[in-house]
Amino acid sequence: MNGALAVARYTLIELSRRRILLVFVIIGALGILGLGVGLKVLYSVTSSSQGNFGPSNVDPAVFNRFLELLFLTYIFGALGIFGLLVAYGIGMTAIYHDLDSGAAVSIFAKPVSRLAFTAGKIGAAVAALLVIMGLLGIETRIVMFLFGGGLETTLTSAVLAVIGNTVVIMLLVLALSTWMNNIVAAIVAFIYYNVISGVIVFVHNLVENGVIGNAFFKVAFNILYWLVPHELVSSASGDLVRAQVTIQSSSGSTAVAGVPAASGPVDIAWWAFVVCVFCGLVYYSVRRRQV
């Protein structure tokens, strides 16, 4: 226990001194602020000239709701991207640099178990990510007050979803970086999490909503869906597309079908399972590692 705390403490000190993380945080903070101000200006322009944006016969309340959701989606898209950068920054360095530099030789020769080392590293990495994402999340919420509130429930779930997703990607990079070069690990994690899993989840949504009726695809993608991590999502993205469909007066069933519904208890349980699996994978990798 003491060993894990010592590893966590000094990993946090190290992370706090890494300039690259500081740069990511500053860029993230400025990016979210800039995007918020920009969208506020856009909102002011478009809400005063609704006819320039879509059909003129749309209910103003629906249109305003659409703009709010659009704002929310962009701002949380930005939070997600900066969160991803921070997650990669932490995941690529927290364990890899100790193993690569040879620092692990001196550490592992001390009376500390690999389990305590792994627990300390994961604890510090998750804590650092939560602090950074928490700060960016608070900034996002402050920026959202430019709109006068009204989206509290969606905001909270969207922030939690973004944080949950960054934790998973960071653990994946952390696990892979104990097996391979950290840059290769980041590329593999991106391909696996953002490309392969992303496509599987998208096709699964189409299958679930009846857009793809083929029985074989249905079975195959139902199985694949539960073999990959899938991003936690708030209701914002689905609501946005539905609002867009309403404004444009089309049936829109196909467009909406590809958009994931808000994550429910099963998705959250699956997220927790994936986190446990990746933590286990990090431990297994560290335990097997010969230095």
Partner: protein, 259 residues
Amino acid sequence: MAAVVSVKDLRKRYRSSDPWAVDGVTFELEPGHAFGLLGPNGAGKSTVVKMIAGLLRPNGGTVTLFGLDPGNPAARAGLGFSPEDPDFPKFLRAAEVLDYFASLLGLDEIDRKRRIPETLAFAGLDQERRQIRQFSKGMKQRLGIAQAILGRPKLLILDEPTADLDPLGRRDVRALIDRLKESGVAILLNSHLLSEVELVCDTVAIMAKGRVLKEGAMKEVVPEGRNLEDVFVELVQASSPPGPPRDQLPSFISDQDRQ
């Protein structure tokens, strides 16, 4: 007296297609003794000490540290290990590294407050405020030795401890080894500096290609009137397959002699 380290028929290879890096090494080390492990580059010396420190898993044979498997953290409680080419978390400072390792050793606050400044002073790093990434190789080497003695080990493994040290640093390390030996600490010294090994070690093993060529008390291995370097060169050359002599100069250097 119970052996601090017991190594029996130890074998290790990194891949199944590779030759054995360590092939049937056997020796024991008792408290208060200094054991020198010698050999040319690639002889398997560092692999042996890393298996003793629980960093590598053997493919065959057994190794015990204080009677336990070195993979067990409790076995490493009495171990101080200064690795070859030591490195540390690069954004920490020397005092922080020692505090980190003191926590891993389970030292309490009182011990830390006393030992860390004294150990830093011994290593000549007490005034150093820079982060490890700004350290020279010699400074890292001194910190490597400092962290190895921090826990007052019963076994001190020094893998090429003086490779990057200046003459004053080497003298300090020799004095440290002598002092620790007197207080009953077992020393396992892995070094290319044969004169140094001859000065401090009671027992020596000469390795080549993963095997022990000769092992015994220093007086047995080095007969009267000879020195360790002569014995070492003779044994290592005898174990090598016939081929061009190792000290033959490249032709472009020899050509310059003629001009």
